[in-house]
Symmetry: C2
Subunit: 208 residues, 2 copies
DNA sequence: ACGCAAAATTGCGCGCACGCAAAATTATGC
DNA sequence: GCATAATTTTGCGTGCGCGCAATTTTGCGT
């Protein structure tokens, strides 16, 4: 009963922050305005989110978390773990979720938002680890956490590489490397991890 | 010539911050005091370090970075990449560097310092990636970065697991899991990544 | 030695994150 | 219904991170 209102104000703050940031740009929105738009005190805002950017990013991050876990669990058990995870994660960046693509653009443009989004990727690691254990019953808890964290790290590397290419536009026009599309980069970054993912599935007696 | 003084003030700030934090505890030291101890303005402090904790952690982190890279490069080329990296990283937590062990204890105790130290682990990833490419000439740049980031992620997981066990002491005395010693945890966390590390070494024709 | 351009340091101001305690809101006992 | 206990919200004060512009310091050319 009381939980409902907490989630309500939470989502109100998230949507308000995202909307205002899209309208005026991320740097031209003060915390007081977000709080006022959600009908709460500025102090209350910091009871829900530890930073100004977190409210903007939290929504899309949580959305992505459920999407990956669902994608992992949806794959048939016949496919290898590596392909399963790679496809699930790459799917995150081919099919944009129910959020406007402008949001991702804005996050990519602002350094502060990028950093916060990278931090948010860490949030996804825990549900991912649970999804991994759910799919492979014999998997160690520690192993699952490590693999999930490794996947998150690979995504971070891919994002960094992608941004490196897209932002170097102003000077030396025509000399920029437009950087491979994001899904390809994510797939390439995830590729080196497939041996570890496949080796983790507890089936050592099936190969010979 | 001017570089020298910059590094001098840098190290002065680092050592002053570490010393003061060890003396009074991390929460009882203000930025102004660190700056004053180093003979600079408080504003100048923030030209070198973006946060108060960063100065405390930066020293040990940089130290560790050179230690790992050296350890990786020191292994004979005959050993597999997986064993090389695992031994090098585990060595970081068996042999304490030239810093007092009380520093690591303090970092482990303060949540803010822990978070900053985890961030600092990210700093080590880039030199590690360079060491990997130096050891395996045919290695892709992206692959090296991904593997280094994965190793960093595994270390993060190990640290989190370790702290989980050591802090749950007050209630239910006698029921705590004292948590395996850190080196063992790090080795266990790194184990799932060895297939990926070994597979990355470009020697696909040697196995048959 | 002198002056000049480049770089570093400093002071100032703003916005933000957060601990703390008071006030308001909600759930629970009779 | 009302009193009471438990949460949640809020105001306030403090320290901090950082952009900006003025000031000082450094290195170089002549």
């Amino acid at each position: 009963m009381r939980e409902r209102k907490k989630r309500a104000t939470r989502e109100a703050l998230q949507s308000a922050a995202l909307r205002l940031a899209l309208e005026r740009g991320p740097d031209n929105v003060r915390v007081e305005e977000i709080a006022q738009a959600a009908g709460v005190s500025p102090r209350t805002y910091n009871n829900y989110f530890a930073s100004r950017e977190q409210a903007i990013v939290a929504g899309v991050a949580a959305d992505r978390a459920v999407t990956v876990t669902a994608a992992v669990l949806a794959r048939p058990t016949g496919v290898s773990l590596g392909d399963t995870v790679v496809d699930a994660v790459v799917g995150l960046y081919t099919d944009p979720g129910d959020h406007p693509p402008a949001a991702l653009l804005m996050i990519a443009a602002s350094p502060a938002l990028r950093a916060c989004y990278v931090d948010a990727v860490t949030t996804i690691e825990e549900p991912l680890a649970e999804a991994l254990t759910a799919r492979c019953p014999g998997l160690d808890r520690l192993t699952a956490q490590v693999l999930a964290a490794a996947v998150g790290a690979a995504v971070r590397v891919a994002l960094r590489q992608w941004l490196h290419g897209t932002n170097e536009v102003p000077a030396m026009a025509g000399f920029v490397v437009p950087s491979r599309p994001l899904p390809d980069l994510v797939r390439a970054a995830l590729a080196p991890l497939t041996p570890a993912l496949d080796a983790a599935t507890p089936r050592p007696a099936a190969t010979p």
